[in-house]
Amino acid sequence: MSKIGKITVKDRDTVSSLQDFLKLLLQKGAVEAVLVQQRLAINNAVMPALITDIENLGQADPLAPAFALNGARMLSRLTRKPLDAPIAAVMRPCEIRAFVELVKLKQGSVDNVILISADCLGAYPNNDYAKVAGMGAGAESTLSFYRNIISGKGTAAQDADISPACKSCEHPAAVNADITIGLLGTNMEENLLLIANTPKGEKLLADLGVKVEDEPLDGRKSALDALVGERIEYRDRMFARTSEAVSSVEKLMGYLRACVNCHNCRVACPVCYCRECVFTTDVFDHEPAQYLRWAKRRGALKMPTDTVFFHLTRLAHMSAACIGCGQCSNACPNDVPVMELFRTVAHGVQGAFGYGAGASLEDEPPLSVFHEKEFCEVTGGHD
């Protein structure tokens, strides 16, 4: 049973109460720095920052429904070599899961890192968030987001809604963070839960002097189940739609027609960890004569070339590690529904291997384990 502590919310200001908790981390010297979303002075934009000064935590807004980029890549940069001192990273569940994948790919380490994650009720696509948050309104937009949810108004606001990735996300709570900040199953305008999922998390709460108890979490569980249920329903409709949309090579080409080979999706993808993508190497520096030959063969050659190949390759490489954060779609300048395609394929791939990307550090990635008797129907024999 998890150890549960509480943050009492003062003045129904969830954001500043959470800031106070994060300040405590630095005050008590539990960590040297905190990686967390903070609100920038200009344009009311929200971006991750590595904060060492307590004062700067006054701008921290981990609950903002903004998701500029997947922070797992930032954290991987911080932890590729051993850290001298502990840091805390406050991230969304999908960021935590991406980070778990990166750790398994030796792109980061959990040593000296405390992972903190608040229940995630979704985030807006980047363009929409600017609209929703307005200019200069500070954290008020964050508080109103949650008020709307509590009052049953939902997440839609000003012609915008949280992204399809969030709507189809079945992991609103990070079970593999050291500390989960619980919004569900409690009245978040009065109390936030501090759930220690790991010995590391328990130790932190103890160090901070947070009073903990073995409280049953029935209310939280039913709230979570309800939310996940909704999302799975949405997800499965999305899968069905997408599967149909790409059910043949021709349809797939149509699905990806708007791709301009900008590779933004790859850059935004937290688990696409290659230092340099093979599509940017000389392998794809085709001989000029080659284009003409291809064109002759078919009568017409779609330009740019290698777009479908690019997405298929990325699917081949990364669908086993895809954690479904949706940053690919977020990054696409031409609104190619990349996330939908990836999630649909990833669901099949991960299901086939009985693997859940980001679920646990212990599960070996499918491609790194070898089972003698696996996929007989594919390998064409008993062996």
């Binding site: 790919l105 030796k106 792109q107 960890y273 290659c274 230092r275 340099e276 993508c277 093979v278 190497t281 000389d282 392998v283 080659q290 063969r297 490489h317 990364m318 990635p365 491609l367 790194s368 003698e372 008993h382 062996d383």
Partner: protein, 1135 residues
Amino acid sequence: METKTGRALVIGAGISGIRSALDLAEMNYRVYLIDKSPHIGGILSQLDYQFPTDHCGMCKMLPTIGRDASSQFCLRKGLFHENIEVLPGTEMIALEGEPGNFKATLDSAPTFIDPEKCIGCGLCSAPCPVSLPDTFNGGLAKRKAVHLPVPHNIPNRYTIDMAACTRCGECEKVCPTGAIDLKTEARRAFKILVVDDELVVRDSLKEWLVVEGFSVDMADSGAEAIDLVSANEYGLVLLDVKMPGMDGVEALQIIREMKPDLPVLMMTAYATVETAVQAMKIGAAEYLMKPFDIEALNAKVVQQYESTVAVKGRVIEVGAVIMATGSDFCDPAKIPGAFGYDYPNVVTGLQFERIVSGSGPGAGKLVRPSDGKPARKIAFLQCVGSRDLKQKADYCSSVCCMFSIKEALLAKAKSGGEADTAIFYMDMRTFGKDFQRYRDSAEKESGVRFIRSRIHTVEPDIDGRLSLHYVDGEGAMVEEIFDLVVLAAGQRASKGARELARSAGVELNPAGFCRTDELFQSKSSREGVFAGGAISGLKDISESVIQAGSASLEASRLIRSKGGTSRPPEPKGALFKDSSRDLPRLAVALCACASSLAGGLDLEALGAALSRWDPSIRVLQTERVCTLAGKKSLLDSLRDTGCNMISIGACMPCLYGKMLLDLARETGLSPGLMDVVDIYTPAFGRGGQAEARVQTAMKMSIERLKGADPAPGRSFNIIRKALVIGGGISGLTAALAIADHGFKVDLVEKEADPGGLVRAIGSTIEGVATSGVLGRLVSGVRANSNISLHTGAEVVGSKAYQGLSFLTTIKTGDGETKQIDHGVTILATGGKEAATREYGFGQSGSVVTQHELEGRLGNGGAVGLGVVAMIQCVGSREEGRNYCSRICCQTALKNALRIKKDNPEAKVYIFYRDIMTYGFLDAYYTKARQEGVIFIRYSRDAKPEVTIGEGGKVTIVTRDPILGRDIAIEPDLLVLGTGLAPNDLGRLGEYFGFEVNEDGFFREAEYKWQPVDSKKRGVFACGVAHSPRSISESIAMAQAAAQRALVMLNRDVVEAGSVVARVRHGLCSLCERCISACPYGARSRNEENDRIEIDELACQGCGACAAVCPNSASVVRGFGDRQVMAMVDAALELI
């Protein structure tokens, strides 16, 4: 002493022969590898699946360093190594001279199809009117008289079964290359004299023989026969035994005196068989029984005829001979008695393998031979023709238990788990490494039923099914109906063993196997002639491979001692021009005969199309490029082109391994810049697409060559010294073997005296005192100036450097540390008798281990013992130590027999689970029972209960499974067979980079094919450190390990293959996936410079790393991304 390149003859090209030949070839000896059959591979050419992986894996025996010297394709298909001359269809008929200087006479079977001309097209087979049972498929299918002996061989040449051939000549007519010559003239010239007093017999024989194409004379009496023989040249005489006047035997005697080389076949009625047998003793070749079975008669006559037209008398000079003709299976249908083995749905294990083989008669479907219906209930009967005194087979065939378990699992797999499989056995002999766990998992996880009952008779049921009666565990008679019954047909000495023994001048044991030294099992009775593999006894693949290694080691040692050297490795690389800086200029040669075979492919059009595809290439038209003439004409036309790459479009690319190397030597181009493309197969079938497919194949080849990397593999330094850890029997043997080859050896032993486990053993079960051999080895080691023996010492650290180079630190007895540099390491750390707390051990002086008993018996301890009980498998073959220690059953029998000998009145009870007297050891089990030792079985779930009473009095209560009730025994002495446990390997694995299995034994690279190698290059293991084994088995393994080490030590440098992986560090994200994907442990992360590094010697170029790497930071030489993509593009061009 004159030195010359050592040569060796290896007889038998099965698994053992191939191992021995490769061993010696890798040592740079010249090797002749001969086999009676027209193909290599032996029995394994028929087996697709092998324990423990249920795959093949024979290719793992190919050289792992200096790989480019050998072909790199499936060993079941063919073998090419530059130092090996493979001579199929060849027998040794005489061996003269001295060890080191033998002259071996070889006869080759007559070739009715010229292998140089046969291209394996198969046109000859279609019109052949003869249909007979296909031996390759165990008679389950039919084949023609002109046939492929093994369907998957490379090169695959047809042969004619002359005994079945009707000489209709149809095949001769259709052969496109004129390869077939039935030699009808030779047959007519072969004159046969028929001698019989009965006119009817003479006439009918003459009629048959003339039809068969022979010339026949007749004589009606012995006297007339002698006149005719003196006046004419006959090829053969058929001589009646019983004739008035001079009888057959008398006539034979005279004929023998006149013409000793003239073969005579005796003809006899049933009544005079004994006379005919007598006649064979005075030189008759064979006898035939009247009334004649025409086919049998014909076969024998043809056999004689063929031996006269055989290519005779090639004499080769060799220093040593290795006999590796393996063993055969008995034919259950020929076992006298009504066992019901002749129903159509009763098959042998081998036939079963063919049934489930993809190249078998049913394309691998699990069906019954009688009607092709699925076989869903399958019984496996063990010990058919083994452990059967009536068959004069007082031995265990050693391999069948595992064979049957594997087949039962195959049946499960092939049927999707649906098939019910039951193995009927007496003792399940899972005595090898990991056998027991395999069996357990077959039983528990796959649901194979194990029923301890010997089935006597298979009875027919309705609808082709079979009924078996057996006594079940409760002692009740049960009848069960099966679809298919599979017989574990016992092993027999190989069919030609007797003739071979005669021509090689070696002795056989009573079972017909080669008689060997009791401890040095590769030594035959003739110096210089060695036994490799199953010819020396009953052996599975792993043991055969070890035994073959032992034989090649001994052969090498002998050749060397007689002044033969290993040829120094030829400098490679320098031979070939470095064209890496030249622009690629590619020639394409298209062979016309491939096109004519494929039905008139338009090569001009093809050439034009290729020129359009890449105008820079040069197209040459050629023909019969696979022949010497064709090669020469190709060379001529190549000469002026200035091309530095060539792609040859022809048939059967695999044929070209050796030719490409020749071509390379003559042109100076690297073989890596040549390619042979099969344009024959793609031209077949499917209508108008033929041209397109051939074009595609050629274009792919062109693209492949354009991207090829011709640089030879890198060479690495090797320190030509060995470290042997452990000074027991294995370590001593290995150290001496290496030192005798002139290399320095450091031998590290942790005890003050060498000898290890063997010191606790007085003698072997065969009665050989161990002190003798141990003494000889120890004094040999001490006297050998190449060996530094460090006693009381242990390894405290080691570091590996690039190439084959280790620096190892040892701490000697007096606390000093020493550093030893060496290139190879042999682990021979041995084991110990396992400790136990079970069955009251330690609570009573009457409870002892087998070793303790052995000590007592040595001092007359048997006298005064009334009742002795022994419990086997103490703490073993169950989780904890779930393996068979292999030696405990024989130790128990040895000690029990000793007790019975010293004190016949003593009663000895042995409580056992399965008696593991594999091979010839089974005779001791027989003997023990004859001597009155009583064997009582118990099961893992119901062990004997031992209570220790007052004064240490021992009582054993156990349930006798036969009587079905408890029995109690109060022995004076309870002896526990606790088995062997490995010595603690400490950090050695870490130091030398090998793995240890869950039981603490060394983990070999591959159980069957690389039993003494570790995955780490240059690190080997032998003896009990590897797995429990007897003294002779340890010695053989030590020799095999030394052999593997010598292959490396014998080189100035070690060459990696040219196809190896490479890392593009600039692209690498250090995700380390390639490290876990590499099956050879060739990759590691260098923590100092944060790079992935490749051990090029370990890398075998398999490409797993390149496949797992997402951005081609890991690449395999010769398989670049652009190159492969260009090939893919070429492949898709015309689709």
